[in-house]
Structures are given as structure tokens and as C-alpha cells.
Amino acid sequence: MKKTINQKAWFMVLPVLILVAFSAVIPLMTVVNYSVQDTFGNNEFFWVGLEWFEEVLHSERIHDALGRQALFTIIILTIEIPLGIFVALHMPKRSGLWSSLCLVLVALPLLIPWNVVGTIWQIFGRVDIGLLGYMLDQMGIDYNYTQNSFAAWCTIIVMDVWHWTSLVVLLCYAGLKSIPDAYYQAAKIDQASRWAVFRYIELPKMKGVLLIAILLRFMDSFMIYTEPFVVTGGGPGNATTFLSIDLVKMAIGQFDLGPAAAFSLIYFLVILLVSWVFYTVMVHSDTKDMS
């Protein structure tokens, strides 16, 4: 759609600007303030320049947390995206009772409060009272997510797959539904294989929504806090201490405001950078589709 130039449109955006400035810019400036100052209490602050940033960038602890976080996000994306596409391809196409039921049940995990997701899996995985833990134990597999860090990782990954694959499914399903029937008929006439249909019809049509899915899954898995916090509390040891958990420990647990603030800014910038790349690609393909 061709848009007209109208500078007065700013007035319509103004309420959003004021609100977001209050809830985003003011807190962000507080963080920036802390990141360049030190304090001995009593509300006396003095300037330390970039010291905290240097400390954070050289801190082993944060490197480790970043490494774990990156590994976690990569594993999550490699499982959830293909699995989501696969399930979406099998979603019922005709609308009816079965398709409504599928939609509601598939979407259900997305609406459960995150700490309840944690609680569900905390219970589900316990060896004494949880179905999963009990079964694994009966099969003779040594599984205890509070002591074994490999088990803790598996639990958290399966939990995240359980929680968020549905998002990818729903997005891809919406993309698939927008493909006109004529495309499939044409493919049938050409006797295209199932793979060819997927590769040359379905995948290109899903490209837009897939980018959004990857963007959202990247952002949210990179910010994950509540679920692992409830299930493992970052343990055993530091095995599942992801960036957000580490940050909250640092800022609220130990009250190391300076390093925590510097850490926050770096953290935010990393997310911003990656998301910006995705966003640019997304907008680019968006405009290409339209022209």
C-alpha cells in the first residue's frame, strides 16, 4: 500500500512513545548510569569509566554462562524448527472439529504461565513422584536432574521443546494455509515428488513465517529465565546457569550493581545485534514479495 507523507502522524504515536519512554528508557538509563559508576553505599557514586565493562568482558564466569546460553539456543533451534515444520505439515487442512481440537491442544502449552511450566516438569521429571522420572528409573537409567548435570540439561531441553515447538507449528501452519490449492494441483499434474512439493512450494511460502519463528525463538530462548530457575535453580553447580539467571544472581542476589549493569548492556546488545540481522532479512524479503 502506498503511504502518504504526514508528519502529524507523530501525534498518534506520541502516547506509545511516552509510555515506552517511561517503562524502557528511564530504566535503561539507570542501567547505563550504574555501569560506569562505583559505590561504597550511602548513595555516593563515583565515576569509573569503562572498568566494569573490561571486568565483565574478561570474566570467566560470564564467558561460561554465555557459552552455555549459546549452546542451549543452538540446540533448541535445531530441534524445534525442523520438528515444528514436520508437525505443521501434518496438521489437518480442512477445518472441522478435529482441526479445532488440534489447534487448541497444540496452542495450550504456550498459555501456561512459565513458572507453572517449570513446576510441571519439575514434578514430571522427579524420580519418586513424576511419571517420566519414575519410568526412566524403572528402566534402569540413572536419571536425577538435581544431581546429574547431563540429566538437568536433557530435562530443560525437553521442557523447552514441549513448551515452544507449538509456536513454530502454528506459524508454519498459518504459512501453509495461505498456499492456494492450485499450486498442489499443478504439482500433481507435473508428478512432482513429495520432497519437490515441499522444497519448491511449501518451503518458499513458509519463508516469511519461518524467519519470524526463528527470530522469536532466538530472542526468547536467549532470555530464558523462569523455567530453568524453577526446575533446577541454575544447578547442579552452575550447569544450567544461563545468562538471565546469572544476571539476576549478580544484581539482586549479590547486589553487584556495576558489573551487573555492564553485563546487562552487553547482553542486550548481543540480542539486539542478532535480531537486527534477522529483522533486516525479514523486511527485505517482505518488500521483495510485495513488489
Partner: protein
Amino acid sequence: MKINKSALVMSLYILFLMLPIYWLINMSLKTNQEILSTFSLWPNDLTFDNYLVIFTDASWYGGYLNSITYVVMNTIISVTVALPAAYAFSRYRFMGDKHLFFWLLTNRMAPPAVFALPFFQLYSSVGLFDTHIAVALAHTLFNVPLAVWILEGFMRGVPKEIDETAYIDGYGFFTFFRKIFMPLIASGIGVAAFFCFMFSWVELLLSRTLTSVDAKSIAATMTRTVSASGLDWGVLAAAGVLTIIPGALVIYFVRNHIAKGFALGRV
């Protein structure tokens, strides 16, 4: 044959999704003694006591009321301010519009952990700590951008000729917006409201940081109970089941638009 395979895949996936939830419901209907002593796939000794505890104890049901209060406040605030902004983005070009749009999205990317402490200090200093409005305002951080994005996506689908015709017919902007435009994007408003509701409902970190007693959310009540009074598994499971119900109810009404909403209105 093909239909059967699809049904099989879907059934397996849904089974995977439902098992943990079933287990939670199963536990919520057992006594603590049964939970810890015997392992059974269904409650042998069916009891609703755990639910009774929640409905009679003010610290429990108060948590639900607090959560619903700030969630509704947040939804109303977010959608109200997002409507005119989304209209502006979908209809006009103005200085810095593209940058502004991306900047809004960056707030959706900001990890709540980054904002927890500054929010605590900000709302304490203006005397809003432990009030519903504080949590509602804090959640606008990610809900307003989301609402703008979703609404903009839906508004783009409404042809501009409708606006122009209405103006020619002598409608003022506000009458046009209320009488003609809002009904046209009613489903978009519904989806945006649903998403604001949902993300405010599922969030824990900010609501826990910003409340202590008077406005304590159900999510915070649940995590604190776990750490404080030992492990009352039955009640915890019952509380969990009750938090799932509102979502399950609302989802039915938006099921046909939900994917479009998740795609930020861009399908």
C-alpha cells in the same frame, strides 16, 4: 493412507504435549500422602481438598485476583495506546517511522532480567511499589510493542480507499475510527488483546520483583510456597491447574487467528 499418517503424527505430538499436563491434574486430585507413598497413573483416593485449600485461603485466591487485576489493566492500557500508533504506522510515512518501528521491537527483545532492578528502583521511588498499576505499566514494556505490531499487521489489510471514502462522506477522524474502522479490525483488536493478556499472565520475573504483599501475583505465590513451607505437592499442582484454565478458555475463541497473532500480524 495419507490421512491416517497425519492423524498418527498429530496424535503422538498431542500425546507428548498432554502427558505432563495430565500428570499435573492427576496429582492435584491426590492427597499428599498418596502422592508420596504410592505411584499410580490415576488417583486411587479422589479428593478435591487441594482445590478447597486454594478457594478458602486468601493468600492463594488473592494471588489469582491480583494477577487478573494487573493483567486486565495492562491489556486495556496497551491496546488503547497501541491503536492510534498502529494506525499511524499503517497509513502514513513520517520522519523516522522505520527507526521508531524497529526501536519498538527492541523492547520486545529486552531481557526482563535486565530491567528487573531498575524497575524496582523506579517504582519504589515514585511510591508505586507493590501496586497493580506498577506491574501493569512494567508489562507494557513488551506488550505495547507487540500490540502495535499485531494491530499494524491487521490494519495493513484494510484498503485505504475505505478511509478516503469515509472522509469524503464527511466523517470526522474520531467518528470514522470508532464507527467504521474499529469494527473492520475487530478480530485484530481481539487478537492483540489476547496476546497482551497472555504475555502478562505468563510472566513471572517482573511481577515477582515489583510486588510483595498487596499485589502479589499467583506466579509469585506459587514459587514462594515451594521454597518456604516445604513441598505441599497437591496444592501446588492444583494451583498450577487453575492457572491453565483461563488460557484454555480464551484460546478457543481466537483459535483461527492465533497463528496470525504469533506472526505479529504478518501472514
